[in-house]
């Protein structure tokens, strides 16, 4: 395959950026999108140009490190697929493909296609855990969890933290990411003790960094794990209840 790439190049956050056009030929349809970028980088290095920087690691769609806008779509055209699992057979021979970094105020650019997603860690630090010191856990089968509950919690827990939901959102909102973690923990019996403080704290840290959700639903479509926006509804409902419950708890 022969393709034309239009790639965003930018040396650093304070440097000017712009699209550069690269013609790449001899691409195999069996290559993944990132292997195609590897091939481009080999050629750039051989001709003395600095390779394109991009985040990636496991190349199995699970670590969440990779992710770029491909023709305006987070992770590209294939539903439920991270950039590393997208293959060139999904593109036409002769296509022009535009590649950009995640574009969101909450994800400042570092270089080329690499952005800083550490705001996600701040959200988790605000309450995305269950407080249980090592060694203090009771026997695992002490608390049965109904299978549908465990399965739904898992559907939420499948989030890989890639940031596609934020990049796809017209408002740059991180509601799907935050809702996924809140729902995972709030659904389980083990997560009940901290349910209301967790919800309030995580939502509030989320709002410090990211825009507001207006129910476009782009996040669900972009999510490589196809996490449902139903979890955002659950989060919103828990947030409202948390506001009341937490006040009552404080009053006591």
């Amino acid at each position: 395959m022969n393709i034309t790439l239009q790639i965003w190049r930018q040396d650093g956050p304070d440097r000017p950026g712009g699209f550069k056009v690269y013609e790449v030929d001899g691409i195999s349809a069996e290559m993944s999108f990132l292997e195609m970028l590897d091939a481009l980088n080999e050629r750039l290095a051989n001709q003395g140009d600095e390779p394109v920087a991009f985040d990636h690691d496991c190349r199995e769609g699970i670590c969440g490190a990779c992710g770029v806008m491909i023709d305006g779509q987070a992770h590209g055209p294939q539903l439920g697929t991270a950039t590393c699992q997208l293959h060139m057979r999904k593109f036409e021979n002769g296509a022009t493909i535009t590649v950009e970094p995640w574009r969101a105020a909450g994800f400042p650019l570092i270089k080329d296609l690499v952005v800083d997603r550490s705001a996600f860690d701040r959200i988790i630090e605000a309450g995305g855990y269950i407080t249980v010191d090592t060694g203090s856990a009771p026997d695992a089968n002490l608390t049965p969890v109904p299978k549908p509950v465990a399965d739904t919690a898992f559907d939420a827990a499948a989030c890989i933290g890639c940031g596609a939901c934020v990049a796809a959102c017209p408002n740059g909102a991180a509601n799907l990411f935050t809702a996924a973690k809140i729902s995972h923990l709030n659904l389980l019996p083990q997560g009940q003790a901290e349910r209301w403080t967790r919800t309030e704290n995580m939502v509030e840290v989320m709002e410090e960094y990211f825009g507001s959700c207006t129910n476009h639903g782009e996040c669900e479509k972009a999510c490589p794990k196809s996490i449902s926006i139903d979890f955002i509804a659950m989060m919103n409902s828990d947030y409202l209840r948390a506001k009341l419950k937490n006040r009552r708890l404080v009053a006591q």
Binding site: D38, P51, R59, E60, C63, G64, T81, A140, P146, K147
Partner: protein, 640 residues
């Protein structure tokens, strides 16, 4: 032999050793723990669980990861599950049986006392993870489900769909995040460790490079913990993530830490075969698939009919034929070699004839499709995305690929390396898996080390340094290490040769896979040992790294990692050459039985080979830790 290899195995019967040891180690009282600074490199299962647990105890912890977040470490990609001797299935499991299976699975090349402790702590891991909210698979009654895995005849594997590693890592990452929010852990992201600092024989700090700013910094602590994973990427094509590397433990090795059994590498039988020369990595398909999938090839070599048109009687279900007792569930090393043998006989399937079928047709008929979907759907989807073939309709094609390294830094029972104050945990150490790791045991070991072993044992070393400040970072030992790091970075940039880092890495990988991969021989290893230094010379003279050191430069990062692989690969070949026996993942063609099975030589090689750095990667010094077996009597492994 100049290394002190005192394994410090506690006295008493095997069941009591760990309890005895916990009682005999020195403790640090809770109020004093905050006076000790511990530096942890790596944030995978072992690193994150250790950091969280040590911080909960009150230690002052700093964590370093080269990822952008602690959640990205490659533990996340583990699919199948985690073993624990809970015996929830009432099928005869026990701590002793898990211990026995692990020692046997490791082909009697692991340290008994460590393995027993691992089996014992497996019980606590499941409790801990469940309390953290890890969504393990459950039965309809709400209790935890189990499945069986290679090398075991009981169902003791806990799993979370095909994403067990992800869910366990997120549990540990969240426990770590709680400590970060609390201020008990300082987390450095996008920071890579480039050297260990030693003063008067003890590890006192590390030198790091900030991957975004390029800033090289010194960090000082009372103890250093390396939780930096394995080195399968020495083969270039492996199931490891792209950034996995040996550098942290190799740099420690160069500073005096003994490197144990470098040739013990695991080739995983069920990976998607390579499709072309541009392939950047190989993708694992969980071993759990062998529970329901049947492995076969056409009985006649060169039979190119589509799989569906080959009648049952013209198929060779070769694992079931060769190993009737364990069938498709033989351990990984046995399965990998059988697959290689069959493909070498010309019976390989697929366009490049480089795989065998893993077929779910019978399981789907027996169990109904929705049951199979529930168990493996994400794996089936991943397979389809990569190959464009639907495994519900046509069989998967699989072939072995480098996956895990049992070798690593030598550690004693306390998980301390031969350098006092320097610890290695998880895949980075060597201790628990011998010559072959059983499936679903890596997660178990990483978490046992991090949650339950290191937090107990590290106090024994620290207690001696109460009220002593760590060595200041402006001490000359730090300047020296830092200068070494800076010079090396400069050297890569100044070489201005003509070949890229990836080119050298691929060439090295080809040599290693050919001569030090699934099957090894004296002439082959000697060939590798002559080719690698020549290629390394070329690397030093003709490497091209563009850009600068003063910012994000991904090629520069890789250059250092590949250079360390060049040195490691020589130790691997030397170790493989010297170990004149076949055991576990190490198969020497000269040592096999008439029917091609591994021939172990306990009289001469029942020991750990511990290599010591001498300054010349081609001439390391050998040290020996003899292995003794009291609880399990070594026998020829048979899965027939």
């Amino acid at each position: 032999m100049t290394l002190q290899l005192d394994a410090r195995i506690p006295a008493g019967p095997i069941e009591d050793k760990w309890e005895n040891h916990k009682f005999s180690v020195r403790l640090v009282n809770p109020a004093n723990k905050r006076k000790f600074k511990i530096l942890i490199v790596g944030s995978g299962l072992a690193g994150a669980s250790a950091a969280a647990s040590l911080a909960e105890l009150g230690y002052d912890v700093e964590v370093f990861t080269f990822h952008d977040s602690a959640r990205r470490a490659h533990s996340i990609a583990a699919q199948g599950g985690i073993n624990a001797a809970k015996n929830y299935k009432n099928d005869g499991d026990s701590v002793f049986r898990l211990f026995y299976d692990t020692v046997k699975g490791g082909d009697y090349r692991s340290r008994e006392a460590n393995v027993y402790r691992l089996a014992h702590e497996s019980l606590n891991i499941i409790d801990q993870a469940t309390a953290q909210g890890v969504p393990f698979a459950r039965e309809y009654g709400g209790l935890l489900d189990n499945r069986s895995f290679g090398g075991a005849q009981v169902a003791r594997t806990f799993y979370a769909r095909g994403q067990t590693g992800q869910q366990l890592l997120l549990g540990a990452y969240q426990a770590l995040a709680r400590q970060v929010a609390d201020g008990s852990v300082k987390l450095h992201t996008r920071v890579e460790m480039l050297d260990v600092v030693i003063k008067e024989g003890r590890a006192v700090g590390i030198v790091t490079r900030d991957l975004v700013s390029g800033q090289v910094s010194n960090h000082s602590g009372h103890a250093i913990v390396l939780a930096t994973g394995g080195y399968s990427n020495v083969f270039f094509l492996s199931t490891n993530a792209m950034a996995c590397n040996v550098s942290a433990i190799w740099r420690a090795h160069r500073k005096g830490a003994g490197f144990a059994n470098p040739c013990f590498t695991q080739i995983h039988p069920t990976c998607i075969p390579a499709s072309d020369e541009f392939q950047s990595k190989l993708t694992l398909m969980s071993e759990s698939l062998r529970n329901d999938g049947r492995i076969w090839v056409p009985a006649r070599p060169g039979d190119d009919r589509p799989s569906g048109q080959i009648p049952k009687e013209e198929r060779d279900y070769f694992l079931e034929r060769m190993y009737p007792a364990f069938g498709n569930l033989v351990p990984r090393d046995v399965a990998s070699r059988a697959v290689k043998r069959i493909v070498d006989e010309g019976k390989g399937v697929g366009p490049l004839h480089n795989g065998v079928y893993l077929d779910f047709h019978d399981a789907i008929e027996r169990e109904r499709r929705n049951v199979i979907e529930e168990r493996y759907d994400n794996l089936f989807e991943m397979y389809e995305r990569i190959t464009d073939e639907d495994p519900y309709e046509v069989p998967m094609r699989i072939y072995p690929a480098p996956h895990y390294t049992m070798g690593g830094l030598w550690v004693d029972y306390n998980l301390m390396t031969t350098v006092p104050g320097l610890y290695a945990i998880g895949e980075a150490n060597f201790s628990d898996h011998g010559a072959n790791r059983l499936g679903a045991s890596a997660l178990m070991q990483g978490l046992a080390d991090g949650y339950f072993v290191l937090p107990m044992t590290i106090g024994d070393y620290l207690a001696e340094f109460l009220n002593q400040a760590p060595v200041p970072t402006d001490d000359p030992v730090f300047d020296e290490a830092r200068a070494g790091v800076e010079d090396r970075v400069e050297r890569f940039l100044a070489t201005r040769g003509s070949r890229t880092v990836d080119w050298f890495h691929k060439e090295l990988g080809k040599i290693m896979l050919e001569y030090c991969g699934m099957s090894r021989s004296e002439p082959g290893l000697n060939k590798a040992l002559s080719e690698i230094p020549a290629l390394y010379e070329e690397f030093r003279a003709d490497l091209r790294v563009l850009g600068t050191a003063g910012g994000l430069n991904q090629t520069l990062e890789r250059a250092g990692r590949v250079e360390d692989f060049f040195e490691l690969s020589q130790a691997m070949c030397l170790d493989a050459l010297r170990r004149e026996e076949s055991c576990g993942g190490h198969f020497r063609e000269e040592f096999q039985s008439d029917d091609g099975e591994a021939l172990r030589r306990d009289d001469e090689f029942s020991h750990v080979s511990v290599w010591e750095w001498t300054g010349d990667p081609g001439q390391p010094q050998l040290n020996i830790e003899p292995l003794t077996f009291e609880a399990v009597k070594p026998s020829t492994r048979s899965y027939k």
